[in-house]
Symmetry: C2
Subunit: 397 residues, 2 copies
């Protein structure tokens, strides 16, 4: 059976990227690798829309989150985080593991923190050093307006804005420098279309100043060591060479498609998934929706386990379940990375058939797919229109 992954990490890997993984290994100090790594670094700047260097860490995304905390802050520092999902909550857990006073904004899982809530907490804690945000909360499928919040943070405090872009980079509009995001991180098995094992982090000049003052312990994730090594086009420790060689291919694909086109594609595919689900009578969970992953309530009255089994073993489709207290309430369909229109037709069609198989009667066969096709026929991208003269980091001519 053909297997199709619709999970928010790992995400499907293009065939040419897979084949790059299988190439003979090269040494990381060889000129051949140094050239690849340099091109990767330039393309990552484009992806992050920043002039700052983007550092490649050999770890999962959580490693880059820890790198942000351990390198920016000092013991006893205060930081704000938003517990509106499993990954927002993680910022708080990491801060506390390092003795940082983590001020929690706890919101119902399924909605986004508002700029006003951030402003209120900043006014209550004027000495906060960092605000940790989650651009696309993978556990709930909720999008947070980090552009607006970054403005609020800089108007109301001296804190840096740190953005978990693990499932937003390469899916959602993100202009790190222009929006004044001080730190952005992401992971490899997401919009970057390669297997898990690498994470990425970029820091503004203000954030680098904090790194100079930070006294929290770190070694493997030391960004000062990473910065020093990158001056020689290098990493402090042996990097995930094969993954970086594959990343080079994936980033070339991203350059060819163009970042704005990729954002529009994600917007369109996510809208199609939502419309398709609604046409099947399914209720969506979470608002506003991320373009990377759609969370959907299981319909009442069906056998949820049976539904997931049919989806996986009869139709070859792997979606993600809910996490923590959402475990038996929602499932999540990812459309992050290497997906196109027919992939979405496929997953909605499989949903239709699997729902019928388990006796759900809320729609007529074809309703979902018809709604999906309508989106594709009518969709007009609404990504911020930019003047062509706007300066784009665009270093790989």
């Amino acid at each position: 059976m053909k297997k199709r992954l619709f999970t928010p990490g790992p995400t499907p890997i293009p065939e040419e990227v897979s084949l790059a993984l299988a190439q003979p290994i090269i040494h990381h100090r060889n000129p051949e690798f140094i050239e690849i790594f340099s091109r990767v670094n330039e393309n990552l700047k484009y992806l992050f829309q920043t002039k700052q260097d983007v550092y490649t860490l050999t770890s999962s995304g959580t490693g880059a989150m820890e790198a942000a905390v351990a390198n920016l802050l000092s013991s006893g520092d205060k930081a704000i985080f938003v517990n509106g999902g499993k990954f927002g909550e993680r910022w708080g857990e990491i801060c506390r593991a390092y003795g940082v006073e983590a001020i929690e904004i706890k919101i119902e899982w399924g909605r986004a923190v508002t700029p006003e809530e951030i402003e209120t907490e900043l006014k209550r804690n004027p000495d906060v050093k960092a605000v940790f945000l989650t651009h696309s909360e993978t556990s709930t499928g909720v999008f947070t307006d980090v552009k607006e919040i970054a403005k609020i943070v800089s108007e109301n405090s001296n804190a840096v804005t740190v953005v978990d872009g693990i499932t937003s980079v390469g899916a959602h509009e993100l202009y790190m420098d222009e929006w004044g995001l001080d730190v952005v991180i992401t992971g490899s098995q997401k919009g970057l279309m390669i297997p898990p094992g690498l994470s990425f982090i970029a820091l503004s000049e203000r954030a680098w100043e904090m790194v100079e003052r930070s006294n929290l312990p770190k070694y493997y994730f030391s960004l000062k060591k990473a910065k020093k090594a990158l001056q020689n086009g290098d990493t402090p420790w042996t990097p995930g060479i094969a993954l970086i060689v594959a990343l080079d291919v994936a980033l070339k694909m991203i350059r060819e498609e163009g970042l704005e086109n990729i954002w529009i594609r994600h917007e369109k595919l996510s809208l199609a998934v939502r419309e398709g689900c609604k046409a099947l009578g399914l209720r969506l969970f979470g608002h506003p929706p991320s373009h990377a992953v759609t969370a959907v309530y299981f319909p009442d009255g069906i056998d949820r386990k049976e539904f997931q089994k049919v989806l996986k073993y009869k139709y070859g489709i792997t979606v993600a379940g809910g996490q923590e207290h959402l475990k038996d309430k929602i499932f999540r369909i990812s459309h992050l990375g290497y997906y196109d229109e027919l992939d979405i037709v496929g997953v909605i069609s499989a949903l239709e058939m699997a729902l019928k198989d388990v006796g759900y009667e809320g729609f007529n066969p074809g309703d979902g797919v018809r709604a999906v096709q309508r989106v594709f026929a009518e969709f007009e991208g609404v990504v911020e229109k930019r003047n062509e003269d706007d300066e784009f980091p665009n270093c790989c001519h």
Copy 2:
């Protein structure tokens, strides 16, 4: 030109392992992956010769070193490390980054610490909590008798013995449980024959008791989190899935060849490299020699840069240079992992030709290869002969 890597990480990757890397990605919570990961874990126990679980971290080997320090120790604890090379020195750097009082035994790079030196330092510091060792010091090609030292440590202190086996696991005899090694770590791009990006760590019961008491900050590298996740056959963070799928294939090859045979092969190939070099009039650096990597002085009177260039660009051979103050003094030939007799014939032959090309006259063409062949003809493995009834962790029938 065919390219041949003779570097102590990355090491060459068998074709079947490379092809496993290129397989379609699977989700880490899918039964298919859980089965692979469970088999990998059993085979890692065999590799480490331990009944303890071996934890797979998504990081380079340095990450596992940091995991050992951050999970075992508490602030202000004392630990002994041996600075006899770049990697031994690293233990001290990590300890200090975490506020551990690191007691240095500084020895000349190129020799091994003796059990007596460890004993002396233990008597001077009876409150030491850990002794950090480097089984095969990659920077100098020196082997350390960790079996003997572990005995000394347990006879003279309550400290745990922590072994960096990054370039020894899969090359040198190592019986973690039987030798009383409390912690053993290794990396993926070494004896395990897969690309960099994974590291491995196993802990004795005594070491786990220390983990319970440790107060150093950690999150990504938290071994308690790793232990909890492994109870469900899982990892706390998304693991390097593609690398683990490849590791499964590599470990099957290791099981098929048999660990004792692999150790004997490394002993034979390393002896052949040393004899080949000596027959060319080259002086070996470091003693006693590691079976993973051979360090050789550049001969006097040749243009070292030209020699390395010829080797790399005319003969396709990448060897490693020296590190730190040994940079212009030695080069290092690795024979760790996926190498056989003809690979050694090839590298010694390339050395002969490249040395002639740069005007070195200390031998007659063929001298090196002849010495290599003689070793192969006469070699008898001296790996400790074990009774067949000895209990081997051997869980994958």
